[in-house]
Amino acid sequence: MASETTNNSVYSGPAKVGWQWRKLTTPNWYVPLIGLIILLVLPVFITASYYRHVLILVFLYAAAGEAWNLIGGYGGQFSLGHAAFFGIGAYTSTILLNAWDVSPWISMFLGGLLAILMSLVIGLTCFRLRSHYFTIATIGFAEVLRLSALYFRGLTGGAQGMTIPYLGTAPAMYQFDSKVPYYYIILFFMLLTIYLTHKIRNSRLGFYLLALSQNQEAAQAVGVDVVQAKQLALSISAFLTALLGTFYAQYLYFIEPASVFSLDTSILMPLVSIIGGIATVLGPIVGAFLIIPVRELALNLLGSSFAGAHFIMYGAMLIIIILVRPAGIIGILSQGYRTVISKLPGGKEN
């Protein structure tokens, strides 16, 4: 992405509109655009409901990983408690839907606000903790919420969870009969998180986060309000994660503490980031495209062979990737990507 300016400097003379169009003839622009178009038309070609489902999960966890990456990657605060926000989003919209028929399109923002409130509580108590203490404290918060959701049965249905009444296709109530609308909604969310991450990375907040994640004392010494920057990143991250929690509830029609508040959910968000490449804009996307299909397909193929087979593969894959490339695999991919791009028409070598 950084090379685009040098690429276009030759065309800096002509009128602005012409310059905009020129951009599209360089591979740095048309390759992602082609990728986007492929994602947009994919449901036309992939008609099997199961594969659509896998893609929806990929986008969901890509978006969630992207949201986590804001505070966990750029901010360097390794939260393992993001299920707290995810679950708040899922439960807020579902409780309001079941009690007062509030449309999830509205209540998802309320869930987002509650998640921000939760992020303030976590921020106030945990941001002065260092590395491992912070990580384990965030697990503590998510676990307290999970156990509370089990305990306050009257509100949450306890361990039995909550179901969302099926209405068929009811767009106003965030319900659709087909998987296609869900596909586009979650694709939109994924693109939104990519866009926001890209924006934030190049903003003042992004530079503050970069500085404080490398050396907190030094960042403080040059006048960065460390606590405020971390809090802002965590709150944005929490808000986005809660919106995804509402999506999850509306898509699966069923939530329970063991799914939305689970440690497994908390683990999956940083997992896609670290597999893809932590603190990079596209890392979580790459990670989700690698991890989620393997997880789902292994469950489908191996699930019946013997108990635990797919998780054995999943755990082994995790260990091997970390042994081979602890920094994630986006490094290799982006190198290959750059080589390919430079050879495409309009690339540097042409």
Binding site: G72, F78, L80, T125, C126, R128, L129, S131, H132, Y133, T135, I136, A137, I139, G140, F141, E143, V144, L147, S148, L150, Y151, I267, P270, L271, I274, I278, F306, A307, G308, A309, F311, I312, Y314, G315, A316, M317, L318, I319, I322, L323, P326, A327
Partner: protein, 290 residues
């Protein structure tokens, strides 16, 4: 309030708390010396349970006697984990280290599921139903034995750390790796011993609970999480803090179950964790020493 019920709950809690202590001192040993937070620690405990179970099922060995099998086997297991999984990532980013241990946790849990199935396995013993009466308080024999063995093993670790050259080398490596290296301490060797010992202690914790608990593939999760609470609240890296905090957590949890509800045990544990972190982030007994 009935005082005998209160006293009974506290005694029960302290007895199981001894096992939490034993599990947590190992977790703290790994963190203190190798600087890795071991999310698979609960699974080390689970392995100890299964070794004990199979020693009994196949060879008829009494669960408490099987300590002499569990501890060496788990020591070896810990050495292998350190050599092939932890050592290559000692300088990797913290999050990569965390995910290595999470990967190991997922792997061990599901290997256990695949090999041993999801069945709950328990061992009937001659002393399983014996109880001692101390005034109005009833002390169950297997829990008392578990407590005594846990305290003895924790104390043995304390003696090893304070009274031997090996322990001194470990404490030195915990405080400053580079200086320790300069003093001629072979780091990698010390790390192997530390993780081996921690795994052996975790395995022992799994063994001593078998006369009154079940082995199943996810049995380690609750123990692992509680070890975390104990280790953090006691002061991460402080073996002494972990020991005392284990007893406190056991008692608090037992009171929660007695007076709030059956599923309040974990909730109490995590609330303690959060309160300690807010009031005293470095842990109650933190002195920076092992």
């Amino acid at each position: 309030m009935q005082w005998d019920i209160l006293a009974q709950a506290i005694v029960n809690g302290i007895l199981i708390g001894g096992v939490y202590s034993l599990a947590s001192v190992g977790l703290n040993l790994i963190f203190g010396v190798v600087k890795i937070v071991n999310f698979a620690h609960g699974e080390f405990i689970m392995l100890g349970m299964y070794i004990t179970y199979w020693s009994w099922a196949l060879f008829g060995i009494d669960p408490l006697l099987s300590l002499v099998i569990t501890m060496p086997l788990m020591f070896l297991f810990g050495v292998i984990v350190q050599r092939f999984l932890f050592q290559p990532i000692l300088k990797a980013p913290e999050l990569a280290q965390i995910f290595m241990t999470i990967g190991l946790q997922i792997l061990l849990q599901n290997l256990a599921l695949a090999i041993f199935s999801a069945n709950y396995r328990s061992i009937p013993t001659a002393y399983g139903a014996i109880a001692y009466h101390l005034g109005p308080i009833v002390i169950s024999a297997p829990r008392l034995f578990a407590f005594i063995i846990s305290v003895v093993l924790s104390a043995a670790l304390g003696f090893l750390l304070l009274g031997t050259d090996l322990g001194k080398a470990m404490r030195a490596a915990a405080q400053d790796r580079e200086v320790a290296e300069l003093m001629g301490i072979n780091q990698n060797y010390i790390f192997l011993i530390a993780v081996g010992l921690a795994a052996a202690l975790a395995g022992a914790a799994g063994t001593v609970v078998m006369p009154f608990f079940y082995a199943y593939p996810t049995a380690g999760i609750a123990f692992g999480l509680k070890s975390f609470v104990v280790a953090i609240a006691g002061g991460l890296g402080s073996v002494r803090g972990a020991f005392i905090m284990g007893l406190i957590l056991g008692a608090a949890e037992s009171l929660g179950v007695q007076y709030v509800g059956a599923d309040a045990g974990m909730l109490v544990a995590f609330i303690i964790l959060l309160v300690v972190l807010v009031l005293r982030p470095q842990g109650i007994f933190a002195g920076g020493r092992l």
